[in-house]
């Protein structure tokens, strides 16, 4: 009846695991109690969970990312403390629990922190930047969110019921095969990745369709803000790369559950094929994670340098070149598998070729600073910290791309230092910069800058303290995933690395305080004009937060940096006249996407625990709900032109009061305003 599920599934094997399960359960209960006491359930359901608005879905994506970031960061802290004390001793973590921790840390950071973070930021920003009213497929957008959330919920479930995989975030069989790992762990891993992967794939399709079809009149591709270009490139990579992962994990699940022999050791299976498929997705994936951050940095650096981005065409070309080349390098993840020198050398050289467009981008950003007028708000600090730190990761990446060098540091903590050096200052700092930059647009008030800067400095110094020692340790031959070790020379460096993570923890605390302080002072920090940073792209032309239709009359674009140019010309908030307003249709809320997400969760949970009837129920529910949706009519809501006109007039009047004289609406004062 209940498959493999029994009382044995409870986490009594480790005090740390039991405590984590307790915290997870208490956290959920606390949220439920809080919502009940404050009578917020209806509000939550109507305003948020069922919303198909791109901004709200984006915010929910980011909330998922931040919650999961907290968990995965605590896991990083435990790993670092364990290694700092585990010289010739068992430390405080049972061996198997340590292995679960490095697996969940990696899997969560990739699939449930960076992916939802960047998907959320693209969701919030992309339609506004290209002058669209929403994404092309709002309901599909919600499905993506709820599939990702279901995957995250599955990982959280594994804290309480059963154990997660111990096979690392890359889950190589045959370690993760049925013979060596018969438990539910790898199944949790497979299903969490599969749900998140499908969610990402539909999000990618949606972004591509939106960019292709919904750009405002005049917004040619080469006038798009760079964040849109990177969103486009990332989405293309998602659509082309994620199927490889979905296939790899699905085949592994067939091996484990039904005794297939795709990746088994015996009977004709071949584990190398999993490694091949996994990295065929895995290498484009690192560019999927980093390109939106590149886009955000391009926007932030130009805005806070108060000048045009240098080498726009170069940056576009470099982005797309990276996108194409990212599919030609995956073999460098297994140089040590015994391929011939011709094969290894080819993939090594291709990997270095990618360094060229990446280096070009770094120099383009540097020359954007040149003769600018730099302001150092939190997003800009992250951008500068990124520029300097990221190139170190680039250098070590090129070293790893040289096969004979890779032989000496592969699987060592040098590799760990390298990819954290790409993903923290690159991807995560990019998301932090984007978060601080676009927060006022999404929510309506700015984030407190002082606490933001404190957070930044702790993150930056903590990053150096935590990961530079790992480069050294890697060159000393220290393997990754070591729960304890017997080399006394390693320990001081591991203590330093743990100290670095403590600094990062201080940064995380600052960021939590920043959110609280900003919420407390939200009236003082309110973004009344919708343009808090003297912004350059169209998202800053609308109110913060924007109305649910974004643009009552779609803007006409005549150049790059469209909003900046119109400010210079004094035409930032034109009055198009009553006749320009037409009725528009926005999507009605739909609870079906939430239901499909939870049906998928039930399917995945039942598949993990092998509860056949429940899996069938989950599968049937998700399919039937999609069919049901196709019969629904009246899925959109009409907003009359008069409402739109009144809203816009109100906003223009408010802007007049904020900006004495109101010249910007009429262009009287702005000509000749250039220094």
């Amino acid at each position: 009846m209940w498959g493999r599920l029994s009382a044995d599934a409870l986490p009594v094997y480790s005090i740390v695991a039991a405590a984590a399960a307790g915290i997870a359960v208490l956290g959920v209960l606390a949220v439920i109690v809080l919502l009940t006491v404050t009578h917020r359930w209806t509000w939550l359901w109507r305003e948020w969970l069922t919303s198909l608005n791109h901004r709200r879905i984006g915010i929910m994506y980011v909330i998922v990312a931040l919650v999961m970031l907290l968990r995965a960061f605590i896991e990083a802290l435990l790993i670092r403390v364990q290694q700092a004390i585990a010289y010739d001793s068992g430390g405080f973590l049972p061996t198997e629990h340590f292995a679960q921790l490095f697996t969940t840390h990696g899997s969560i950071m990739i699939f449930f922190v960076l992916m939802p973070f960047l998907t959320g930021m693209i969701n919030v920003v992309l339609p506004l930047q290209i002058g669209a009213r929403d994404l092309a497929f709002p309901w599909l957008n919600a499905i993506g969110l709820w599939l990702t959330t279901a995957g995250a919920a599955l990982v959280m479930t594994s804290l309480v019921l059963g154990r997660f995989s111990t096979g690392g975030w890359s889950g190589y069989p045959n370690y993760t095969g049925a013979i060596v790992s018969p438990g539910v762990g790898p199944d949790y891993w497979i299903w969490a990745l599969t749900l998140a992967g499908i969610g990402s794939t539909v999000a990618g399709i949606n972004f591509i369709a939106t960019i292709w079809k919904l750009r405002a009149p005049g917004m040619t591709l080469m006038r798009m803000p760079l964040f849109c270009w990177t969103a486009l490139c990332t989405s293309l990579l998602i659509v082309f790369a994620f199927p490889a992962l979905t296939v790899a994990t699905s085949l592994l699940w067939l091996d484990r559950t039904f005794g297939f022999h795709f990746f088994t050791q015996t009977d004709g299976g071949n584990m190398m094929q999993f490694v091949n498929l996994f990295w065929l997705w895995g290498h484009p994936e690192v560019y999927i994670l980093i390109l939106p951050a590149f886009g955000a940095f391009s926007e932030v650096i130009a805005t806070f340098s108060q000048k045009k981005v240098f080498g726009y065409a170069s940056l576009v070309f470099a982005t797309m070149a990276i996108g194409v080349l990212s599919f030609t390098v995956w073999l460098h993840h297994f140089f040590t598998m015994g391929a011939s020198p011709n094969v290894n050398a080819f993939f090594g050289i291709m990997t270095m070729v990618i360094a060229v467009p990446t280096g070009v981008k770094v120099y383009d950003w540097l020359f954007t600073l040149y003769r600018g007028r730099l302001r150092f708000d939190t997003p800009m600090l992250y951008a500068i910290g990124f520029l300097v730190t990221f190139v170190i990761g680039g250098v070590t990446g090129v070293l790893l791309a040289i096969p004979p060098v890779d032989y000496t540091v592969h699987n060592s903590v040098f590799l760990i230092a390298h990819f954290h050096n790409m993903l923290i200052p690159g991807s995560l700092f990019g998301m932090f910069a984007a978060f601080n930059f676009w927060f006022p647009k999404a929510v309506g008030f700015r984030l407190d800058d002082a606490w933001g800067r404190r957070g930044f400095w702790f993150w930056l110094t903590g990053f150096y303290a935590a990961f530079m020692p790992l480069y050294l340790l890697g060159m000393m031959g220290m393997s990754r995933r070591l729960e304890r070790y017997s080399h006394p020379g390693w320990q001081p460096w591991l203590v330093l690395a743990a100290f670095g993570v403590v600094l990062i923890a201080a940064g995380v605390v600052c960021q939590v305080i920043q959110l609280y302080v900003s919420w407390r002072d939200r009236e003082a920090l309110r973004d009344a004009t919708g343009d808090p940073w003297d912004g350059r792209a169209l998202e800053w032309s609308v109110a913060s937060p924007p109305p649910e239709w974004n643009f009552a009359v779609r803007p006409r674009v005549r150049s790059r940096d469209a909003f900046h140019e119109s400010k210079v010309e004094g035409l930032a908030y034109p009055d198009p006249g009553r006749d320009a307003y037409r009725d528009i249709f926005v999507p009605r809320n739909s609870g079906l996407a939430v239901a499909i997400g939870w049906a998928a969760y039930v399917l995945a949970f039942a598949a993990v625990w092998r509860i056949g009837w429940l899996a069938a129920l989950g599968l049937a529910a998700s399919v039937l709900l999609v069919i049901w949706r196709s019969f629904q009519t009246g899925t959109t809501e009409r907003i009359p032109a008069q409402t739109l006109y009144d809203y816009d007039r109100g906003r223009r009047e408010a802007l007049m009061r904020l900006v004495p004289g109101g010249e910007i609406m009429h262009g009287a004062a702005a000509s000749g305003a250039r220094p």
Binding site: T95, A99, T166, N174, Q265, D267, M271, K307, K308, G311, S314, M337, G338, P341, A345, I349, V356, G359, V360, L369, Y370, R371, G372, R373, L374, F376, L381, V388, V391, G394, V395, V398, P403, P404, V405, Y407, T408, R453, L472, M475, M476, G477, S479, R480, Y485, S486, G489, P492, V495, L496, L525, A528, T529, D534, G570, V659, I664, A670, A673, P675
Partner: protein, 329 residues
């Protein structure tokens, strides 16, 4: 000022972030933050003054860095031409990359300093293209990647782990990865060991690798080179040590609960020492029969260094064959 519109907006937004110069961000940052933290503590009525906090910070940083300062940096002492060449290759690549990387640090520092808003330096808000600059930032990295590509192509071939490591008669060794120990067989000598690899100095040796468990990665940091060992498959690595030394090697691919202990001793000895070791092993060791091997593999545990006088010939190939089964019919 950019344009009066922006300036006006700023006047009207009450909590516009104050302008902090990069001077504060760079050198004097720590001091400034300390002020702020101290002030916020004072506001809450706590006695911690600025000096107290600074002292605390120094103690914390000092406590963390003392053991580091005292520690030697035990970077791997390279032994043998492979490891040495790999280290040189790393150095050459670093030097080549320094050409494009060092300017990034210099330019970032210079630009952040010179073009901070409070300094009111030359301001060119519309400058966004320069053909010579574009050519340089595409051209120079391209040249460097061509040079690096040359290094990659030639060195990947010359340091191919499948190619014999220098002149001389090759010592053949077979290594089987098990949970969680290494079994070494010397087919030419007839002896076998567990968790100890003994090789003669200045003579090439070839290790054929396979696994009797999940994927493993064979690695001796001091000698250079790492290759996966996989069940049902045979991979190999060619190495050479220059001078007698005590070293270690290990599995680098996570393989379960005993993974952390899957380390083996590597002893490089002179030619005479190697003969002596073989004779000693011949005289003193036990027998690694199929049954003994089977029992050894079955206990999923690390193992002490053991020497065997002889082993059942064909053991290595049998371990590979064990996994090369046909699907059920």
């Amino acid at each position: 000022m950019t344009n009066p519109f922006a300036a006006r907006l700023r006047r009207n937004a009450p909590a516009w972030p104050p302008d902090a110069g990069p001077a504060a961000n760079l050198a004097g940052f720590a001091v400034k933050r300390m002020h702020a933290v101290a002030a916020s503590f004072r506001k809450r009525g706590e006695p911690a003054g600025r000096s107290g906090l600074a002292a605390l910070a120094f103690v914390l940083v000092g406590a963390a860095s003392l053991p580091v300062a005292a520690a030697p940096i035990p970077l791997i002492q390279t032994n043998g031409p492979i490891a040495l060449e790999q280290a040189r290759l790393m150095r050459d690549a670093l030097l080549l990359m320094a050409i494009v990387v060092l300017p990034v640090f210099v330019l970032a520092g210079t630009f952040v300093w010179r073009y901070r808003r409070s300094r009111q330096a030359t301001y060119r808000p519309d400058w966004s293209f320069s053909l010579p600059l574009e050519l340089a930032i595409w051209g120079i990295p391209t040249c460097i990647v061509i040079a690096l590509g040359f290094l990659v192509w030639t060195r990947t071939h010359s340091l191919d782990p499948y190619a014999q490591a220098g002149p001389g008669s090759v010592l053949e060794v077979q290594a089987i990865a098990t949970d969680w120990k290494w079994v070494f067989l010397y087919p030419g000598l007839g002896v076998a060991t567990v968790n100890e690899l003994v090789v003669p100095a200045d003579r090439p040796f070839r290790i054929a690798l396979t696994s009797d468990t999940v994927m493993n990665a064979f690695f001796i940091p001091g000698l250079g080179g790492q290759i996966f060992a996989m069940a049902g498959m045979r991979t190999q690595i060619n190495l050479r040590a220059t001078s007698p030394a005590e070293m270690w090697g290990r599995n680098m691919q996570f393989s379960g609960n005993g993974f952390y202990g899957q380390e083996f001793r590597v002893r490089v000895v002179g030619a005479q020492g190697f003969d002596a070791w073989r004779q000693h092993a011949r005289a003193a060791g036990g027998q690694l029969t199929r049954a003994a091997y089977g029992a050894l593999v079955k206990q999923q545990a690390t193992a002490p260094v053991t020497t065997y006088a002889r082993f059942d010939p064909g053991l290595f190939d049998e371990v590979i064959a064990k996994y090369r089964t046909e699907p059920h019919r």
